[in-house]
C-alpha cells in the first residue's frame, strides 16, 4: 500500500501534498489544548495496532485500521496518520518522502469520510447496529484507500493500469479482515466506553 519515491508523476505528488496539507490544517484546528494528549496517545495506539500481523494463507498482512481511526479521531485522523507515516518512512524506510502527501491522503481521507458518515449512526444505534457499521467502516475505508492508490498510479501513467487493478484485488482479503476486527473493536468500545464515539475524542471532565 505504501507507494515509493520515483513512481508517481510530479502533478500527482504536488496535488497529494497540497490536499494533505489542507487536511492536516483542518485536523489541527480541531485539536484544542484539551485534546492534544488524547490525540497523541490514540495516535500511538493506532501505530502499535498497525504492527499486528494477521495470517492470510501462507503470507500475512498488517492491520491498517484507518476506518476505526476515522470513527474515533474524526478530522484529527489526518495529522495522526501523517505522523505515523512520517515515523514509518524516516525510521523504518517504508514508503518515501516525496510521496508522503499522497500516501497520507490515501489513508487519511477514507478515514475521515468513514468517520463523518458512520460515527453518528454508531453513536445512536444499539450493539447490532454498531457491529454492522463498524464492519462497513472497516471494509469501506480499505476499499477507498485501494481506489485512491489505484487512482494515484493511473494518473501517473497508463502503464500502471494493470498494477492498479492488482492492488485492488490483492486487498480484498484485507477488507474482510479489517471489517471483522473493526466490528469487534467498535462493539467492545461501544459497551465499555461509548464516549469515544460521542463526538470529538472525549475529554476528561475537568
Amino acid at each position: 500500500m505504501h507507494i515509493v519515491d520515483g513512481a508517481l508523476s510530479a502533478p500527482v505528488l504536488i496535488a497529494g501534498a497540497a490536499l494533505t496539507a489542507g487536511g492536516i490544517a483542518l485536523g489541527l484546528r480541531q485539536m484544542t489544548l484539551e485534546r492534544i494528549p488524547a490525540a497523541g496517545v490514540l495516535s500511538a495506539a493506532f501505530f502499535v495496532a498497525s504492527l499486528i500481523h494477521v495470517a492470510v494463507g501462507p503470507s500475512s498482512v498488517h492491520l491498517i485500521l484507518n476506518g476505526l481511526a476515522g470513527l474515533i479521531l474524526g478530522w484529527t485522523a489526518f495529522p495522526a496518520l501523517f505522523v505515523a507515516l512520517l515515523l514509518q518512512a524516516v525510521f523504518f524506510g517504508f514508503g518515501g518522502i516525496t510521496v508522503l502527501g499522497v500516501n497520507t491522503l490515501n489513508i487519511a481521507l477514507p478515514a475521515v469520510l468513514v468517520g463523518l458518515a458512520l460515527r453518528p449512526l454508531i453513536a445512536a444505534g444499539g450493539p447490532r447496529a454498531a457491529a454492522l457499521w463498524g464492519a462497513v467502516g472497516g471494509a469501506g475505508a480499505i476499499a477507498l484507500t485501494t481506489l485512491f492508490v489505484a487512482a494515484a498510479l493511473v494518473f501517473s501513467g497508463d502503464a500502471f493500469v494493470p498494477a492498479a487493478k492488482l492492488v485492488f484485488l490483492a486487498h480484498v482479503p484485507v477488507m474482510v479482515i479489517e471489517a471483522a476486527i473493526s466490528a469487534a473493536a467498535v462493539v467492545l468500545i461501544k459497551r465499555v466506553k461509548p464516549d469515544l464515539f460521542a463526538g470529538a475524542p472525549a475529554v476528561a471532565a475537568v
Binding site: 513512481a7 494528549p37 497523541g40 500511538a44 494477521v54 515515523l87 518515501g96 516525496t98 473493536a185 466506553k193
Partner: protein, 261 residues
C-alpha cells in the same frame, strides 16, 4: 530511546564517534527532503547512479551496521517488486523480449529501473541522515524548521506513547496466551484481535485523561517547550557545502544526459 522494542529492529542512534552522527539535525532533514524531491524528478542513469552511490557512501561513513539498513531497503524493494515486474510488459515501446506472448519493452524496463534506483537512493539517504536521529530530536528539528507547533506536539506525544502502548499490547497478548489463545485464520481469531484493539484504544483514552490532568497540574498551556540547543557548527557548513556539491553534480549529470537520450 527507540520507537519500539522488536519489530523491526531499531537502528543505532548516531554513534558519537562518526562525523555523520554530529551533523545538525535540521540540515539532515533539509538535505533528505531536497534529495528526495530531486531524485524523484531525474531520469538519467548517471544522475540516479550518483545518488545511490552517495547514499551507500554515506552509509559506510556513518558507522551504522550495514546489514540492517540494507535488509530494510530490500524489504521495501519487496513491496514494489510486482509493480516493477509488470512495467516492462505494460509500457508500449521497442520490444525487447517476450514471455508467453507478452512483449516486454525497453522503455518499460528503463522506467522500472528508474523507480528502483530512485526509491533505493532516497531510502538510504533517509535512513542514514534523519533516520539515525532520536525520534524526539526529529520532532524538535521539525519544530525549529517551522512545522506548526501543534503538529510537532502531536508527533512528540505519539513517539512518547508508542513504547508505552506497545507494552500494553504485549501484556494483553500474554494474557490471551495464558488463556490458550492461538492465532488462526478464522472469525474467532479476528474477533479476539478486534476486542484486543478496542481495549487498547479504551485504555489509551483513559491514560490520556490521566496524562492531561497531570500535565495541567504542571502548568501545561498547549505547547511543549523545545528544550535543546541546536547549534550550527563550522563542520555543518562544510557538510552543507558538500551536500550542495552532490546535488549540483546530480543536476549537471541530468542536464548532460538529456540531449543524448
Amino acid at each position: 530511546m527507540t520507537l519500539i522494542s522488536t519489530n523491526p529492529p531499531a537502528l543505532r542512534p548516531g554513534l558519537p564517534g562518526a562525523a555523520v552522527a554530529r551533523i545538525d539535525p535540521r540540515l539532515r532533514v533539509c538535505v533528505a527532503l531536497v534529495f528526495a524531491v530531486l531524485m524523484s524528478q531525474v531520469d538519467g542513469f548517471g544522475a540516479l547512479g550518483l545518488g545511490l552511490a552517495a547514499g551507500l557512501g554515506l552509509l559506510l561513513a556513518s558507522g551504522q551496521p550495514i546489514g540492517p539498513v540494507l535488509r530494510r531497503m530490500a524489504a521495501m524493494d519487496g513491496f514494489i517488486l510486482f509493480m516493477l515486474v509488470l512495467l516492462p510488459f505494460t509500457t508500449p515501446g521497442v520490444p525487447l523480449f517476450s514471455v508467453w506472448g507478452h512483449g516486454a519493452s525497453l522503455e518499460g524496463l528503463r522506467d522500472a529501473c528508474d523507480i528502483l534506483l530512485t526509491a533505493n537512493a532516497v531510502v538510504l539517504m533517509v535512513l542514514v541522515l534523519p533516520g539515525t536521529l532520536e525520534p524526539v530530536t526529529l520532532g524538535h528539528a521539525l519544530g525549529r524548521l517551522g512545522v506548526p507547533l501543534s503538529l510537532v506536539n502531536l508527533l512528540l506525544f505519539t513517539v512518547r506513547y508508542i513504547t508505552v502502548l506497545e507494552g500494553e499490547y504485549q501484556r494483553m497478548r500474554q494474557a490471551m496466551r495464558a488463556r490458550a489463545f492461538a492465532a488462526r485464520s478464522d472469525l474467532h481469531t479476528l474477533t479476539s484481535l478486534g476486542y484486543l484493539v478496542g481495549m487498547m484504544l479504551v485504555r489509551a483514552q483513559e491514560r490520556s485523561e490521566r496524562v492531561l490532568q497531570a500535565m495541567k497540574c504542571r502548568g501545561f498551556n498547549g505547547a511543549l517547550p523545545l528544550i535543546d540547543a541546536m547549534r550550527w557548527r563550522g563542520a555543518d557548513t562544510l557538510w552543507a557545502l558538500g551536500f550542495a556539491g552532490l546535488l549540483g553534480a546530480v543536476i549537471a549529470l541530468e542536464i548532460a544526459h538529456v540531449p543524448g537520450a
